[in-house]
Symmetry: D2
Subunit: 365 residues, 4 copies
């Protein structure tokens, strides 16, 4: 309704502005009995940090999470989990010069129109810093999913038009670009070094895979699993497109080429191909779920740009502050978090769909 | 939660199976005082019908809508509007032979796993016939939007790899493919005629534009307008991808090429380009919202296919029944409906976002 | 949000006006695999009918329920269940004389102010006829609860100031007043016969008990089981008060008198008293849940009353139509229905509260 | 769904345990442009404090609220408002002796059954300390309502069976019992002094009035204003009953006595009586809304009580800690808060109910 709440049963409410006191999230609906400590969350949060990468913002937040409620004797109590990350390294004066200016391809203008005014410090609530809270909540969801045998993996699949030549998953965490391909990383590194010199930024794509999810997750009609994952992922800033399985390429296929043929593989159902990307009729089919996501270039660049101010007068702007020339690597843990939160929520929902399951649960737990 | 309810304030709940008694929708939250009659809805519903197109199913439903509640003296009363379309031309025997078989790329298997069994008659709830209810609700949303000066237009933008050569919007309703390009239609016609002969089907893409929406619609963070439209559209069967503005192409651009430059156009804010597709920070910016959607080929084909049955034994299947070799033209009114419902819902939500507006409304209405 | 939707997982949306075509309900979220037929629902619906009682309206609706969707081969499919009851015996001309008049203690005035106009035929959506849909949905909830060993029983506990002298539950269905006391019924019969002669109506109270509910149902803080039951029951027209356990009498007690003492009863926890009425901290404690509900007299009487019309001019009104001199007996199945729907919903919700339960459910169902 | 979230548009999520680090609330959906500072909230919070009253707990929390987000340049931004109150004066060792014991009439047992274990420190999430967060959110709602001309007033209306003799509203804040009657206060003071000596506690009632609410607020059928206020108020710990207008007394009335007669009062609609308590058909009618609420005695007393432990063995318990012999005065600001949050939410909802209002809002704000 108002945008900062997500999920049905595993419901998260995030808060905080880029240059406010802190970022936070309240999770209402995490099952009781899950072992969670601050380190579990910190580990994921650290993946989101720029970590001195030259391709990322110079803002160096410590991003230390504090558990404020909902955990007792190391376990979730079933009541709200409140997590806070204090903001420390913000420099609000960076932004006073853009107080009255609408930065191109930023949300300045639309927030002003929506609310009548805006918190202009660092983009306020529209800043990518908001995703700190998503990663905090995602860390808990991920831990539960891992325990259920479900793994989520995202990586950078292109930098501008530099694509992967081959895929070596073990290389993802060996490079600041989070790309699973040494050759592509080399090419992209040269490209990005030049880009930084020209004070520009570039778009890119990410790929995400979900492995180990059993069949039956996702709801029919409006809450199809792909629909909900689309909402979840497209809610991340800078995303401009999403596709599942063959995606846009599927639009060029005949059914005789596209249809995934079921067969009996060691007494379990399997598919000869996975063009559909693991979802049929909006419900998981137990094969790998595969997703591609397109990101636009980050709009904040230090190249002079024309724009207008709040009085609609012409202005020429050079955006200062500390920004990311290539945002995709930092979006990777956020994609994983949003996918984890969505999956967990629909797994919880699915628990209530068969009367036999409900009877068993009511009588035994 | 359970999939068949959509929307926050303008909330719709749909029901009905392909071969059940009827399809229906209950709308709870339509504002009072809107003039609506059955013809307003019938007009949109007729666009969804196969209309003897050789590229669409031979099932010839009359699809006559009945208003069951919520309208009095020609106007919406503010209480639930119930709409029903009775099913008439269904031939359930067509499906008894697939009762125990999992059709490739259909939802048979996933529904079975989710619920323990399934209504196999014509796909049951997973059938595209479910969209009748979406179009009924969409017709009402559209009428309200039109009155607010907002227009939604969708059309077929490719058939397999046959793309538009040029765009002539006046041609959309002059051809059964709903393509705005005479040349492309000609090419596609030849292609589809051959396709029908080989009992195959083909994917395609649709384009959708929203014109006249003022700035400020959409909520921050999770309920960004593009996120909600993605959910809405990706919930339509057979969709495999969605993109806004430049979409996937944005991933190859530098910010210096991509950023849309604001300028003062006759004392109103305007943008030199619209690469972002009318949404900034998840909120409408008053320029045209542009969306591309990818559809896979309809999976039901009469070419023999291997598959397995519910006992995991090999089967060879030839799908009978009456199906669509090219689904995109019939998806056009459904896209428009889902977009209309989503926009109206977020316009209603936005009514509650400024205290000045609330005060005025409380004191004057 | 708009009032006609209730529940979280077992979510119902009702529709229909007193003098419209039909009353209906869509249930989205009923678990799959529940055996339900029209007779199961009809049985409950028949309890709501006036059944020629002289204490109830002369409107003689057949109230025949039709299952429109969601049941296949005798079982719920997990997708929306649509139920319809056609209206037949309505006489709309009865109401044209009150088109412009605000009947005392009716909703005519408030609906007009809320929506700008109203469906004046028989009270439109504000009519008690709306509860037909609640009983339809309640019948399904009740069947599931019965199967879990949970029983809900409601009865009339007073007519005006005629109270129960003793309680004989077997007598409830032996008298049209649904009172478990022969002596009170005798007294009330004389009283009501006189009341009918003076064209008046009288208030009364109902009592409701829930037996067999295990401990742990209900959510903390805002969604306490007593809070949700209060909302559910207070949403029934004509209710003016509700209390649990000792209720208002608890306000006169000391803790040393009031506190329910736990003890070990045959190796199970039990309480020496049940002053709290089966709910502690908003969560069921496995003892009987006891509820008292107050109903005002039905406002429609044939005694002349002063009032004003829509132009605020004085009017004298004699309300014609067919009304209930004593409404409580007809509210009994509605109370039971609302309690059943609420309990089932919170039992479904509770299924997702322990991680061990979720793991078991995910891996085994 | 999980209990700690309340409201539709003005949605609040609370968190925190009695002996945890802090109590907090996130409000997502507060309109933009409302002037709010910490003092506005602190003022309400201070009303909830025991303030050295001998009738209230000796726990002396400073209860200092901190605004963490959502306010910029003194005004709400339309994005989430996060409020925190740090816990300071908690003595967790007080509770280790009850770690394995189920205190009579407390939530210890039910939380254990629901979640498998519980935070036993001071009642954890089930503690009345949870209401700190409600008052924080309520303060903001109240400020908005005041600005719309709506006033909410609650007071203690009885202590045990000591009732009000007369009503002098100006006396409410002149006595620690928050009673509007000098004579009753005198009598109650003697009674409570004796009660404290015997280490006991007593129940009581509160009365709440809403003045200045225009007609039309509240939704039909399930979300009637009285139903929603019942849920809101019955969610406060220790409540056992609620009634509107004449309440339970209405059950003894004939319609000819009960019906409120409309008349033209200075060209506005008015009622000769207000037996219905300001709500007709679930919608406000512009007269005063009147509510009575019953509270049980606080269960924590220092008189020895029998009970059992988690092994179902007999125990004799004397509850230490710092508790309230009479809770109603401290519940007063909480009642007002819950009423304010509910009213504001339904005022926001009502903004979307007339098409003329929506058009005006869309085109002008």
């Amino acid at each position: 309704m108002s945008g900062s709440t997500f999920g049905n049963i595993f419901k998260i409410s995030t808060w905080g502005e880029s240059h406010g006191k802190a970022m936070g999230v309240v999770i209402d609906g995490c099952p009781a009995g899950v072992y969670i400590c601050e380190d579990d969350i910190q580990k994921e949060l650290d993946k989101r940090k720029p970590n001195n990468s030259k391709y990322a913002t110079k803002r160096a937040e410590e991003d230390k999470v504090i558990i404020m409620s909902g955990i007792f004797e190391g376990k979730t109590t079933g009541t709200p989990i409140s997590l806070i990350v204090h903001n420390k390294d913000y420099i609000s004066k960076d932004y006073t010069n853009i107080k009255d200016i609408y930065r191109p391809s930023h949300a300045d203008f639309t927030y002003d129109r929506k609310y009548g005014f805006r918190d202009y410090r660092g983009g306020g609530r529209a800043s990518a810093r908001e995703t700190v809270a998503r990663v905090c909540a995602g860390a808990i969801a991920k831990k539960i999913l891992t325990d259920l045998g479900i793994n989520i993996l995202a990586y950078t699949s292109s930098v501008g038009n530099i694509k992967l030549k081959n895929i070596d998953l073990s290389y993802i965490n060996e490079n600041p670009l989070k790309m699973p391909c040494k050759e592509a990383v080399k090419e992209a590194t040269t490209f990005l070094d030049n880009l930084i010199k020209e004070h520009n930024s570039i778009g890119g794509t990410a790929h995400c895979e979900i492995d180990g999810l059993k069949a039956g997750i996702g709801e029919p009609v409006f809450e199809k699993l792909d629909a909900m994952l689309s909402m979840a992922i497209m809610s991340i800033g800078a995303t401009k497109g999403i596709e599942f399985g063959l995606g846009f390429l599927a639009s060029e296929k005949k059914a005789s080429e596209y249809n995934d043929i079921f067969y009996n593989h060691k007494n379990k159902i399997d598919k000869k191909t996975n063009n559909s990307g693991g979802i049929l009729g909006g419900i998981s089919d137990s094969s790998k779920i595969t997703i591609n996501i397109a990101f636009k270039p980050t709009p904040s660049i230090s190249i002079p740009q024309n724009t207008i101010n709040t009085n609609l007068e012409n202005e020429n702007i050079v955006i200062k502050g500390r920004h990311d020339p290539f945002i995709v690597p930092r979006a990777i843990p956020i994609i994983e978090s949003m996918v984890a939160i969505t999956l967990l929520d629909y797994i919880l929902i699915n628990t209530t769909k068969k009367i036999e399951c409900i009877k068993y649960a009511y009588l035994n737990f």
